[in-house]
Assembly symmetry: C2
């Protein structure tokens, strides 16, 4: 008897609660429990963490950034060194973004045409062209498990006309991404491709975008262009009118989100996957997430506090007092950034595990209400 | 049957080879295999490492810096938070220096008198007085296992007169340190006190200093005032004429040393304990130690190199290519500093374990010769 080969991509919903679902996304490199939070490993590293430590927090999948990796160390070099998995020593699934968002937000002198985006590297000023086809090629060279279509992230605010023009370009690029991905041979047979819904905060445009993507056909559907300054209310409204247009049997990914309360609200609205730099970036700047709200460790009130950060969050940081963490942050010690990053990733994964359990138990509304009451009313300090 | 209580301080020599010895220093908080390398945890953290990771490299004991800890977070605060062991989550032995060296090297406007040293903090300019008695009190508040006498580290170069005057002051301070330590009640019953031989590069002064310390009586004897610019030849000469004046049944500690080849030479000359920031500081600046010599990871020659740093050194860094480490260092990623620090500490502990085995096997000269041939003739790059 031989083991069955693992599926390329198979999404199973185990339980539903309102619009929320909990399930398993089975892929060649491993299973992903949803709703899932994906730590961000921009430059082939989750900053300050070893991959086995990230895994130990409960992460099933990481995100890598195409834009950063194409510039340094270069996609062809990563491919020669075993792909992103071998290069960074992570053997479970990796989702890569398309580079579209960073090209528009991090570069100067960029020029957007129907063909793609010409830009200068923020590292050395060299000129590059990123197109749907090249983005697919780079993500294939990296060995990505979940490839994102190349799109334009519509800025906020945008008029209806601007949002429509931008969305329509993204839909043409989505079709070219699909074709580019499918031309990828072996890689296309092992990896998955997600489309990205755009349309700003306009319901009709989001609906048209969702339909256009389904006409092309993708393994999963991302909601893009949110968490770009529109605020939580407008983000939730947009999810409320976008999610119903997405297929029920495919995973839904809200890109770049978010704060813990953003995630709780988005899970209630039917989102299955998230990524955000907040837990790692906050950890490096002395901020810890707890179920009683965020904590600013630099604050002198922690100087003599013998308590750990949060008894509900298991990580090596739990062995240390707030006083010690305060000391590390004040002294600019690397270990402060390491422990807070680790704690924050563990906090996010604990939150996701609790959300999955609450959905399975059909008590998500009560869980969300209790979470928000504790998070907003607890030991909170402004971030 | 109950377990025997652990000894306060008991040094056993297991084997000798020329002047070199290998043995076990048994203390209340654990055994220390000698020759031993003590990683430096200046501000209650070995920079970039969790204590359990430092332990996993083979470290039996850490060093903490009295000067840094007295200023931030403060010795009384550390005492209230469980002592240095509880504060930083390390339950094995800790050696603390006296603060004397850093007071003279890191502060401005310092004034040295018979009483002690008045100085301004390098952190906030506040004025402090450090004396032998206060140094003993601080080390007691920290809960140090091996307390160092308060001394003046004689600068290099120094005339015979300067070195003599400085040494004689250190010997008077050594007697006051002994008295201050002995007045420490419970702590004195659990901890050990080391004296520090001074005298610059002058044989007669070193001999007089060693005799003066033995007249006072200490648990161990350190050689101070070396690795301050005199060079390896003069350091080894000074060890050659100092070690014979030290008692054979007590451990000998060469402070602040050093490079791998310094350590090999000093072990051959009868030294049992070492500390140095080199493995940690070098790790943070992209330097790796290997048995084929130091490696500068930033160098472009590593860009496509799939080999690990050194197959003889076991640490998590062994899972990564030089190309990946090069990428991390070039990108300024924390993980580069973490992996190189970890590797370097593992390299130092591997070297110490090999030295202990070579002494036990009575083949230290052959080991040292082979080490130096490989280290100086191998894959070397200038540090």
């Amino acid at each position: 008897m031989t083991a069955s080969p693992r599926p390329r991509f198979h999404y199973t919903v185990h339980a539903r609660d309102g619009r929320a679902r909990t399930g398993t996304l089975a892929m060649a490199r491993g299973d992903i429990a949803t709703p899932a939070f994906m730590p961000v490993g921009t430059a082939a590293t989750v900053k300050g963490m070893l991959p086995e430590q990230v895994r130990a927090t409960g992460a099933d999948i990481l995100l890598g950034n195409t834009y950063h990796l194409m510039l340094r160390p270069g996609a062809e070099r990563v491919a020669a060194l075993g792909g992103l998995h071998g290069f960074m020593n992570w053997d479970r699934p990796i989702l890569t973004d398309s580079g579209g968002f960073q090209v528009m937000s991090l570069t100067d002198l960029r020029k957007l045409t129907e063909e793609g985006v010409t830009f200068r590297s923020h590292l050395d000023g060299t000129k590059h062209l990123l197109t749907p086809e090249r983005s697919m090629e780079i993500q294939r060279l990296l060995g990505s498990d979940i490839v994102m279509a190349f799109d334009e992230c519509t800025p906020f605010p945008a008029s209806h006309d601007q949002a429509r023009t931008s969305m329509e370009l993204s839909m043409r690029w989505a079709a070219r991404s699909r074709a580019g991905f499918d031309a990828g041979g072996d890689h296309a047979a092992r990896a998955a491709l997600f489309g990205i819904v755009q349309g700003g905060v306009y319901e009709d445009l989001r609906a048209r975008s969702a339909e256009a993507l389904q006409a092309i056909g993708f393994d999963g559907y991302a909601v893009g262009g949110l968490a770009v300054g529109e605020g939580q209310d407008l983000m939730f409204q947009t999810l409320d009118h976008t999610v119903p247009h997405l297929p029920d049997d495919a995973p839904r990914y809200l890109m770049g989100v978010g704060k813990p309360d953003d995630i709780v609200g988005a899970v209630c609205r039917g989102i299955d996957m998230f990524d955000c730099v907040l837990p790692t970036r906050s950890g490096r700047t002395g901020q810890a997430f707890t179920f009683a709200g965020p904590v600013t460790l630099k604050n002198a009130r922690h100087r003599d506090d013998p308590r750990p950060l949060d008894p509900r969050v298991a990580s090596p940081a739990a062995a240390y007092s707030r006083a010690y963490l305060h000391h590390l942050v004040k002294a600019g010690e690397m270990l402060g950034a390491i422990l807070l990053t680790w704690h924050n990733l563990a906090f996010y994964q604990t939150l996701m595990a609790e959300l999955r359990q609450a959905i399975a138990d059909n008590r998500l509304d009560a869980y969300a209400e209790a979470f928000l009451a504790g998070y907003r009313g607890g030991d909170i300090e402004p971030l």
